[in-house]
């Protein structure tokens, strides 16, 4: 019998989402962590239960039925750590995305500098910035005071002054905050996060520390031209935990199970992506994670451990869905729909889905519409998040995604799509990767839970980031350049490690799949026939690259970057349907 090197054995991960509550059990089997099973029920934040712990317990009952594991004692309490009798679990982690976005007021010295950083920091959690205030604000003290009182924010983020920079102006900015908080009932005062000039921490504490629940985080603007959001994110996650514990019944109980380590789902997702980026640091590319959920779409891009996290509640596929119409035109959504439906149908679908976010598409038209919405949500989210990418990353080109390796796609709309072809096309159309990359699907939607477990049992995270949970859809090569449609732009010769060779000329505008069994290694020899960048170091440069086969083998996406779809609707649908079947069946 193998001896386990692992101390903390079983781990229960709880994920309370807007639509579903999931509980996942991991345990050590034959010396390594395994995903043993999960329970999933609708989230019970709203009527009739109004208590998320009711859903968690129902999901745990389901888990008990599936795995046979007894988790509660006779008093109905979760047993942590597990008993010699086998009852209970050794550790529990939880993530939360349910609930309305936090209402935030962002304050900074200069509107385009530190106020922008305060806004950016807020966007790394489930938040909506309702108002921004700065020194170059035309409003006076009283107007700012009245604005804060009217908004009644959950959180005020203050980011002012570079290190060694302005001092008094920052304190002046806090006057309206202090007055507003003084005028609010104590139990309804907002949390205040100060992430400005560290020399002012004592002054800030003296100024408003007795009035509010003040949190201090590292300065997000150490210097005028650099923004560092990551060091402040733990403080923000802690604030989120505290606010949600007050707002949502049942959160406190779950938080206690975790030893007060409950965290935002997106933060946990970001942790996993950051972790993977360290493993992939040798590629000199970043790792991109995208999670399309009901409450928000989350983009996590990490470059050798440096995480950029952006959460877009307006791009969630649940109750907020109609907000997408404020961010793009209906036509921009329609362009991804492969069946013939009217504008009116799509708009009505969006509004009806917001009324019943848990409903599932029954017809092909509904499914195509939902997938088009997911595609557009990803498209908008990565373009918005791209503003935070370092400018000097390999493959950076204006308006295009820089090179990433790998890209991790998560969220039920992707993982539960009826076919992997649909998943792949949502990801390719929505993200439009460039260069050479691997697309991996988080098939059990574990990425966030694994991020949460990293602090308790890092080994679980490491061992679970494997092909069992993250399916390699394909290695994708996306040439960038310009040529008339149908022009040969690339010659590809693929040699599998099994000795099988294939060669093909790639035409501009095509999507081509090369068979390479899943997990099997191969070598691609790329010869450019036109001035295209295929991710080998510049325009017109070819080369050789080692690849691993995925569900669809290796895919050459020569449809162009940015992807241009036929303008005529029937031709566009024809193209979308053709591409849906091109990579073969997954």
């Amino acid at each position: 019998m193998p001896t386990s090197l692992i101390d903390a054995d079983s781990v229960l991960a709880i994920e309370i989402g807007t639509v579903s509550t999931r509980v996942i059990l991991f345990d050590v089997v034959e010396g390594r962590y395994r995903f043993l099973g999960q329970g999933s029920v609708p989230t019970t934040m709203g009527a009739p239960s109004n208590d998320v712990s009711v859903g968690v317990k129902a999901a745990l009952d389901q888990l008990h039925d599936i795995t046979g594991r007894v988790l509660f004692n006779s008093e109905g309490q979760l047993v942590i750590p597990s008993q010699p009798s086998g009852i209970g679990v050794d550790a529990c982690v939880a993530t939360v995305s349910v609930g309305p976005p936090l209402k935030v007021v962002a304050i900074g010295l200069l509107e385009d500098v530190s106020a922008e950083s305060a806004k950016n920091l807020a966007s790394t959690t489930y938040a909506r910035v309702m108002e921004t205030m700065s020194l170059n604000d035309r409003r006076g003290l009283l107007e700012c005071l009245d604005t804060i009182l009217q908004i009644h924010p959950d959180l005020i983020v203050v980011a002012g002054g570079i290190e060694g920079g302005a001092t008094q102006s920052v304190i002046d900015l806090l006057e309206a905050v202090g007055m507003a908080c003084y005028l609010m009932p104590k139990e309804r005062r907002p949390e205040v996060l100060y992430a400005g000039n560290s020399a002012l921490v004592k002054d800030v504490q003296a100024s408003i520390g007795t009035l509010v629940n003040l949190h201090i985080a590292p300065n997000v603007r150490q210097s005028f031209d650099s923004e560092q959001l990551t060091p402040s994110q733990p403080a923000l996650a802690e604030i989120f935990r505290q606010v949600r514990s007050r707002q949502i019944q049942g959160i406190q109980e779950i938080d206690l199970w975790t030893g007060n380590h409950l965290m935002p789902t997106a933060t946990a997702f970001g942790r996993t992506i950051r972790f993977i980026s360290k493993e992939y640091a040798h590629t000199h590319k970043g790792v991109l994670g995208i999670d399309v959920g009901a409450s928000a779409t989350t983009v996590a891009s990490a470059f050798s451990g440096d995480l950029r996290l952006s959460i877009y509640p307006g791009l969630g596929l649940g109750e907020n869905l109609p907000e997408i119409l404020n961010l793009c035109t209906l036509g921009e959504i329609m362009r991804w729909i492969s069946v013939d439906v009217s504008d009116k149908y799509v708009r009505d679908y969006i509004y009806n889905k917001a009324l019943y976010p848990t409903s599932l598409p029954i017809t092909a038209e509904e499914l195509a519409t939902e997938q088009a919405l997911a595609c557009q949500a990803m498209y908008l989210a990565v373009r918005q998040a791209g503003k935070a990418h370092p400018a000097d990353r390999p493959g950076s080109m204006p308006g295009l995604l820089p090179w990433f390796e790998p890209i991790i796609a998560s969220g039920s709309v992707l993982s539960k799509a009826p076919s992997r072809n649909q998943t792949l096309m949502m990801v390719l159309n929505g993200l439009q990767p460039t260069g050479v990359t691997t697309i991996a699907l988080d098939r059990n939607n574990l990425a966030a839970s694994l991020g949460a477990t990293a602090s308790v049992t890092p080994l679980l995270t490491i061992q679970s980031l494997d092909a069992t949970n993250f399916v390699n859809l394909c290695t994708i090569i996306s040439p960038v350049g310009n040529a008339p449609l149908g022009t040969p732009i690339l010659r590809v010769r693929m040699s599998g490690d099994d000795g099988v060779e294939s060669e093909q000329e790639i035409m501009y505008g095509s999507l081509t799949a090369f068979k390479l069994p899943q997990g099997q290694a191969g070598t691609l020899h790329l010869t450019t026939l036109h001035k295209f960048d295929v991710g080998m170091g510049g325009f017109g440069r070819g080369g050789t690259v080692k690849v691993i086969g995925g569900v669809f083998g290796v895919v050459i996406d020569a449809r162009g970057r940015p992807l241009r779809l036929p303008a005529e609707p029937s031709r566009r649908r024809e193209a979308l349907n053709k591409w849906l079947t091109t990579p073969g069946s997954g």
Partner: protein, 351 residues
């Protein structure tokens, strides 16, 4: 697991909380009879403050000025009232430029909260105030026929019900609206023309109950002065038979239209309450139940959206539905006798 129940009840005892987002002043009292547009609580809509520099006004340092401030936090002041002073031979004083309440005094300054515009919380229901909920709102007991909607434009009103739909899927056109409907609550099936909404506003109508509406009309509907409730949703959807039958039998009865947006966190949703004729005994409401065979349910998505029926079976395990998704399904016997399999996630219990 418990699932919420959507109500289409001919006669029901209804208890509803009416709550403001923040604190304010409760103007109703326990036991008071209210109608839907009675104000039960109010709070300041847009807080407005004024900072008076007492030191400057009196020609003193902030520290010295504090000795001359006559008002404390919580004091109400009228326009022209002395706030600080007198000082010196000239007996300089600082007066309040407007009426309001002193909320902060010290450091040579006085902060006044000015009397501003109030936002009013309406009762929404015809009933009796059963309880006062702190400084946030009231609990109301009401009785009536109850129809719960799925979308509302945020307004509340009441009036006599006028029926404009002769079938659950009639289209409401501007030509059907005339001056005889002034002051009425209009019941119709489907609206796809913004002229209908605008004409109703011009009458003015006191409310509109629709089965469904074109979603393109949402921005217009939100701007109407009268409440609009959708019973089914967006797109051309017929009204479910249960709701249609209740409304169809309530012509010229008083109806309250509470077009609150559906909010699952605060447990508010759009509702229509119709006064009961004498002698009808209301039933108490059950708010939730586990799914079980024989229950009345409504399908909430195409191709059977807004159809009601009876739950005939709950499939164990997962089934593949026409879109290709795998999910737990349930059998529903529709009113026309057809039995259809739909995802359990796409049906709701009605009762």
């Amino acid at each position: 697991m418990q699932a919420p129940i959507t109500h289409f009840k001919p006669a029901a005892e209804i208890q509803r909380e009416r709550i403001m987002p923040g604190g304010g002043r409760i103007v109703a009292r326990r036991g008071q009879q209210v109608n839907p547009i009675d104000v039960v609580a109010e709070s300041v809509l847009r807080p407005e403050h004024m900072l008076l520099d007492i030191g400057r006004g009196l020609g003193l340092s902030p520290k010295d000025a504090d000795h001359y401030i006559q008002r404390r936090a919580g004091d109400e002041v009228g326009e022209g009232d002395v706030i600080a002073g007198p000082v010196g031979i000239g007996r300089r004083v600082v007066r309040s430029p407007r009426s309001g309440t002193v909320v902060m005094a010290g450091g040579g300054r006085v902060l006044l909260e000015l009397e501003g515009e109030f936002v009013e919380l309406k009762a929404g229901y015809t009933g009796v105030i059963a309880d006062i909920i702190g400084d946030r709102g009231v609990l109301i007991d009401a009785v009536g026929s109850l129809i719960q909607g799925v979308w509302g434009n945020g307004k509340i009103n009441f009036g006599l019900l006028s029926l404009l739909a002769h079938a659950p899927d009639d289209i409401l056109t501007p030509g059907l609206l005339d001056v005889s409907l002034r002051g009425s609550v209009l019941m119709a099936a489907y609206c796809e023309d913004e002229k209908v909404l605008l004409t109703a506003d011009d009458l003015p109508a006191r409310g509109m109950i629709l089965a469904s509406m074109d979603s393109a009309l949402v921005p217009v509907a939100l701007n109407m002065s009268y409440p609009i409730v959708l019973v089914e949703g967006f797109g051309k959807l017929p009204m479910n038979q249960d709701a249609y039958d209740i409304l169809n039998s309530a012509s010229r009865r008083e109806v309250s239209v509470i077009a609150e947006p559906w909010n699952r966190i605060t447990n508010t949703r759009p509702e229509v309450v119709i006064a009961l004729p004498d002698g009808v005994r209301p039933e108490s409401l059950t708010e939730s139940s586990p799914f079980s065979i024989g229950q009345s349910v409504r399908v909430i998505s195409p191709p059977y959206k807004s159809m009601v029926g009876t739950l005939t079976n709950l499939q164990q395990g997962l089934s593949v539905i026409p879109s290709g998704l795998r999910t737990q399904t349930a059998g529903v016997r529709l009113l026309n006798g057809d039995i259809v399999q739909v995802p359990l996630a796409n049906i709701e219990i009605i009762g």
